[in-house]
C-alpha cells in the first residue's frame, strides 16, 4: 500500500467513526428536526466516504454514486422539512 491509499483509507475510517458518533444524536433526538439534521450530517459523511473509497480503489465510476447520494440526501432534508411544516407537524 502506498502512502496515498493508506491516508485515504485512514480518512475513510475516520469519517465512518464520526458518522457512528453522530448516530447518538439521531437516537437521542429530542426533536425530529434534531434527527433530520443528524441524518443529513451522516449523509454528507457518507458521500465523502463513497468518494474516498472510490479514490482509494482507483474506481472513478463511484463518484457518480456519490453524486446521486448527495442528491438524495438533499431531497430527504427538504422533503421532511416541508411536509412536517405544511401538515402542521404530522408526517
Amino acid at each position: 500500500m502506498t502512502l496515498l491509499t493508506t491516508a485515504l483509507f485512514a480518512a475513510t475510517a475516520a469519517f465512518v467513526a464520526l458518522s457512528v458518533v453522530i448516530v447518538y444524536r439521531i437516537v437521542r433526538g429530542p426533536t425530529m428536526q434534531d434527527r433530520v439534521i443528524a441524518v443529513n450530517a451522516v449523509g454528507t459523511n457518507t458521500v465523502v466516504v463513497i468518494a474516498l473509497i472510490g479514490a482509494a480503489t482507483d474506481d472513478p465510476g463511484v463518484l457518480d454514486i456519490a453524486l446521486v447520494y448527495a442528491l438524495l440526501n438533499f431531497l430527504m432534508s427538504i422533503a421532511i422539512s416541508k411536509f412536517t411544516v405544511e401538515r402542521g407537524g404530522v408526517m
Binding site: G61, D64, L71, L75, I78, A79, K82
Partner: protein
Amino acid sequence: MSNGNDENGDENLGERLYVESPIIMATVRVVAPFVLTFGLFIMFHGADSSGGGFQGGVIVSTVVLMVAIAFGIEPTRDWVDPTTIVAVMGIGVSVFLLIGMGSVALGGRFLEYHAYPVYHASKYGIELVELAIGVIVASVVVGLFFAIAAGVSHGDDAEPAESEGLL
C-alpha cells in the same frame, strides 16, 4: 416566534399561513437542469458504465419530486399534467415492446438484437431498451408520487376517515 407568517393575521385570524421558502425554490431552480442532464447521461450510458436505464430514470424522476417539494404538489401537478405522464409511460412501454417484438418478427427470439440487420445492433439495441426502461421508471415513480400525494391531502369535501385510512 419568528416565522414571518403571522403578519397576515388580520385576514385569517391566527390561522398560520404556510409560505413556501424562496430559498429552497431558488436552489431547486438552479440545480434542476443539471440533475436532469445527469439523469439523462446515466440513462444514455447504460451499456458501457455504472449507469443504466433504471438508475437514470430514478434520477430524472427526482427532478420532478424536487420541484414538487419546493413549489408545492398542486402547481407541479398542473405543470407536468398526469396525462403527459401516462402518455410518456405508454411511449416507453411501446418502444420496449417494439424492439423486443421486432427481433421476433425478424426471426430471432424476444430481445435478440443480432436479428437486426444493423451494424453494432446489440449496442444500439441495449441502448434503446435501457432508454425505454428509464422512461418507464421515471414516469412510474412520478405517477406514484402524485397518486400517493393525492390520497394523503385532504380535499375540500373528502371524508376525514377516508384519508386517515390512506395515511
